[in-house]
């Protein structure tokens, strides 16, 4: 049996690493939501809208945009509490309720509007294709996350939801890379394209790495 002091140290290191991960994730997610709120003044004085002034003349695109940003903020906000073991232990009802919001918002609002808007996204053919892939993958992973929990397969549910959340978080990580490259003095378009690719591929790889680590721990638990 290991010394209790070592065990406590190991636990506190684990908590520290979790804090180091979740504090920026929560902070940047809340900042994203905070920066999205002014869009609901329906004012057109935003660089994103001004740049796409031609597209915003279409009422359908306009509607899709506002639905998409509302859905995005809602699902990023709802997902923040989904990975908390504390909430899951204390009250499953909260987890279920916010999970339902997340799934509904992604499947019916966020992904379809994102898919439509991806046709007109900034960048070359490949960036547009990447946006389409993101919308599709976000939809599929969320749908799998839902079907697996209906079958009471909790491990598979966790795995698919991590993949889904990694897609939702591309909105956050994209902005982080975008700012970093901007402060490094990169040109706008190359910054935009590179940030986009890194955020999508980076998030997917990161999610797979977490899943691999957790599954390794899970398999190891059978051995002991």
């Amino acid at each position: 049996m290991q010394n209790t002091r070592i065990l406590t140290l190991q636990k506190s290191v684990k908590v520290l690493f979790q804090m180091l991960f979740w504090a920026p994730v929560a902070g940047f997610s809340l900042l994203l939501i905070y920066n999205t709120l002014p869009y609901f003044s329906f004012n057109k004085d935003f660089s994103f809208i001004q740049e796409r002034n031609f597209l915003f003349q279409s009422s359908f695109y306009n509607t899709c945009f506002y639905i998409h940003i509302a859905a995005g903020s809602l699902c990023i906000g709802a997902a923040l509490i989904q990975f908390s073991r504390y909430i899951l232990k204390k009250s499953k009802a909260i987890h279920r309720f916010s999970g339902k919001i997340y799934v509904f918002v992604v499947l019916f609002l966020g992904a379809p509007t994102g898919l439509f808007m991806s046709f007109f996204a900034k960048g070359s053919f490949w960036e547009r294709s990447l946006f389409m892939f993101m919308a599709g993958w976000w939809f599929i992973t969320t749908l799998y996350g839902l079907t697996t929990i209906h079958k009471r397969n909790i491990i598979a549910h966790k795995v698919w939801m991590m993949r889904s959340y990694s897609m939702a978080m591309t909105a956050v990580t994209f902005r982080v890379y975008h700012i970093v490259f901007y402060l490094m003095g990169w040109g706008h378009l190359e910054n935009y394209e590179l940030s986009l690719w890194i955020s999508v591929i980076g998030n997917m790889l990161f999610a797979e790495w977490i899943i691999y680590r957790q599954s390794k721990n899970y398999l190891r638990s059978f051995a002991t």
């Binding site: 905070y34 740049e51 002034n53 389409m132 901007y182």
Partner: protein, 134 residues
């Protein structure tokens, strides 16, 4: 459960079909082609032409108490205009939470630090009046 799948799938297929059709309609339009084009901001250089020339008659006192009129041509620039110093604008990229956006990080979010030109030190020293008679 299946109804969720059907509704979601219908929305996704509808979005992709409508998006594709709409994109094909708009992709040949000039406004769409120019939409994401990066425009270079060029500031027109305004040159001030100083053409005002004053012709004054200056009376120079001469020792023998006769006044001699001398025609002198004095340009206004020497008297009134300060030497033109080009103001160099240095754009400093600083962090702001407003930059946390998918939109273009355009110039209006960038704080501009303008370097003020150093004013040339006035060379007008107090004139020493030498009174030789004293």
């Amino acid at each position: 459960m299946k109804s969720i799948l059907y509704v979601g799938a219908t929305l996704m297929i509808g979005a992709s079909i409508y998006g594709f059709v709409d994109y094909n309609k708009t992709r040949n339009k000039k406004e769409f082609k120019d939409m994401y084009a990066e425009k270079e901001i060029t500031q027109p250089v305004v040159e001030k032409k100083l053409s005002l020339v004053n012709t004054e008659k200056i009376k120079i006192p001469v020792d023998d108490k006769k006044t001699a009129e001398v025609n002198t041509t004095v340009s206004n620039t020497a008297k009134t205009e300060k030497p033109v110093v080009k103001v160099k604008k240095q754009k400093k990229r600083t962090f702001s939470t407003r930059l946390f956006s998918r939109g273009a990080l355009d110039e209006k979010y960038i704080k501009e630090d303008t370097i003020k030109p150093e004013e040339p030190k006035s060379k007008t020293e107090p004139v020493k009046t030498e009174n030789k008679e004293q």
